[in-house]
């Protein structure tokens, strides 16, 4: 009844339809870390960890023993001190602004708890279209999906998948990432979304706000994931279209995601306890 060619065409169409339906059904991130997913991660991650460790070991030998031993070490110390000072500076600035506005109304609480866990980046996303990294800590270390991932310079991302010993982190430069943020000076609120070429977009910022290039953008804490006051980046471009209610703001993250090696996972973001009304 049907020619062979016809059957082939119908077969391909059916296959495409089935493929799209399956993709829609399985396009939920949590599905990926059911048992087969965990087995897959456990199979690949140790090799990634071994490879990363080897690369870093060789690189460190080169840097610290063959190539200007003292200078490299001194440089490391200065870099650490600089990072610390940078972090302190941002936090102090935020603290000062908060104090002046809310001194009589609120008691300022420390925005980040001390319960953080350090982890090492052992692998990066195989595709240039997505920005995730694999870290060497998982459920056994107390990590859960949704936890914030930070570095001394600012916000890095959020844990999206957890297996026993490894976790996947969605970086803030990924297209699917979203962080509730504030411009530090103007207090303009918006959402930080991943852009292209390692940049972020500060979306839904109203036109009325006076955002300037160089303004610092911090986390607002309103998303319930990232503690308030952590640096995200600085404004690198502002475009106010003639129509529309929002302006287009580009933010350059402080974190250098190309060189991301160690991260901190915030284990217990402090939640405000509201007393029930008497």
């Amino acid at each position: 009844m049907f020619s062979k060619k016809m059957v082939m065409i119908i077969g391909v169409i059916v296959l495409i339809a089935v493929n799209i339906i399956l993709l829609s059904v399985f396009n939920r991130r949590y599905i990926s870390y059911y048992r087969p997913g965990r087995i897959a991660t456990s199979l690949i991650a140790p090799f990634q960890k071994a490879s990363t460790s080897s690369i870093r070991f060789v690189r460190d030998i080169w840097r610290h023993y063959f190539f200007l031993v003292n200078a490299a070490k001194e440089n490391d110390n200065y870099q650490k001190a600089l990072n610390k000072a940078f972090e302190n500076n941002i936090q102090l600035k935020e603290l000062r602004l908060s104090n002046s506005r809310l001194r009589d109304l609120l008691n300022f609480e420390k925005t980040i708890t001390d319960r953080v866990l350090s982890a090492e980046v052992i692998g990066k996303d195989p595709s240039p279209w997505f920005k995730t990294v694999l870290i060497d800590k998982g459920k056994n270390d107390g990590i859960e999906t949704g936890m914030a991932v930070v570095v001394p310079k600012g916000i890095a991302g959020q844990v999206t998948d957890v297996s026993a010993n490894y976790s996947k982190v969605l970086l803030i430069i990924d297209h699917n990432s979203a962080v509730d943020a504030l411009a530090q000076n103007d207090r303009a609120r918006g959402i930080i979304k991943g852009g292209m070429a390692g940049q972020c977009l500060f979306k839904y910022v109203l036109r009325k706000h006076d955002i300037e290039i160089g303004d610092i953008v911090i986390s607002s804490g309103l998303d319930g994931v990232f503690p308030k006051g952590l640096a995200v980046g600085y404004v690198s471009a502002v475009f106010k279209p003639k129509s529309g209610i929002f302006q287009e703001v580009t933010v350059t993250p402080y974190v250098d995601f190309e060189k991301l090696e160690e991260v901190l996972i915030v284990l217990n973001p402090k939640k405000k306890q509201f007393e029930p009304e008497q």
Partner: protein, 171 residues
């Protein structure tokens, strides 16, 4: 035993792609290393032998990637089917055609990625950046793809010879 070699090669490619290459600025926008391997399987190996590897490593890549689940699996299966279909009327084993076959494979994979991502992502991606990434990947594929295919073919032949030697000795 052939599966062991396939699994070993794929694991090596994944580890290199996710741990070594991101640290080398030159390879920042290199194409997916499993693409030439899938093309190699579809051109030079049997469908029964290849499909298992295509499914397993499509699944593995989906697990370690941040894209929608099933993205790599879909891309690899269609890449495999297309390459199998291409060899019915093109003599793609010819070394002159190999660069174009790999480049077409990379192009197809990227189009599938963008198409599927567009279906599931709410905000559109920047067009210029996409074009430049795809262009760089296709260029890389044109110049390096055939070497990968030749390397896979060579290692497979060596493996078969070595395996045969052991097998003959034992008997």
């Amino acid at each position: 035993m052939t599966y062991c070699l396939h699994i070993f090669i794929c694991l090596c490619l994944i580890v290199i792609q996710t741990t070594v290459m991101p640290y080398i600025p030159l390879f920042e926008r290199f194409y997916d290393l499993l693409t030439p391997f899938i093309i190699y399987l579809s051109i030079f190996r049997s469908a029964r032998e290849s499909m298992v590897i295509v499914f397993i490593f499509g699944f593995f890549m989906d697990i370690i990637s941040g894209g929608p689940f099933g993205l790599y699996l879909t891309a690899y299966v269609w890449l495999f089917i297309s390459a199998r279909w291409a060899i019915t009327f093109l003599h793609v084993g010819d070394s002159l055609l190999l660069p174009f076959v790999v480049a077409a494979g990379v192009l197809m994979e990227n189009f599938l990625f963008i198409g599927i991502s567009a279906m599931f992502e709410q905000s559109p991606r920047v067009f210029e950046a996409m074009v430049s990434t795809i262009f760089v990947q296709v260029l890389w594929a044109l110049f390096t793809g055939p070497f990968f295919l030749m390397f896979f073919n060579y290692s497979h032949r060596r493996w078969d010879q070595w395996f045969m030697k052991i097998f003959v000795k034992k008997n």
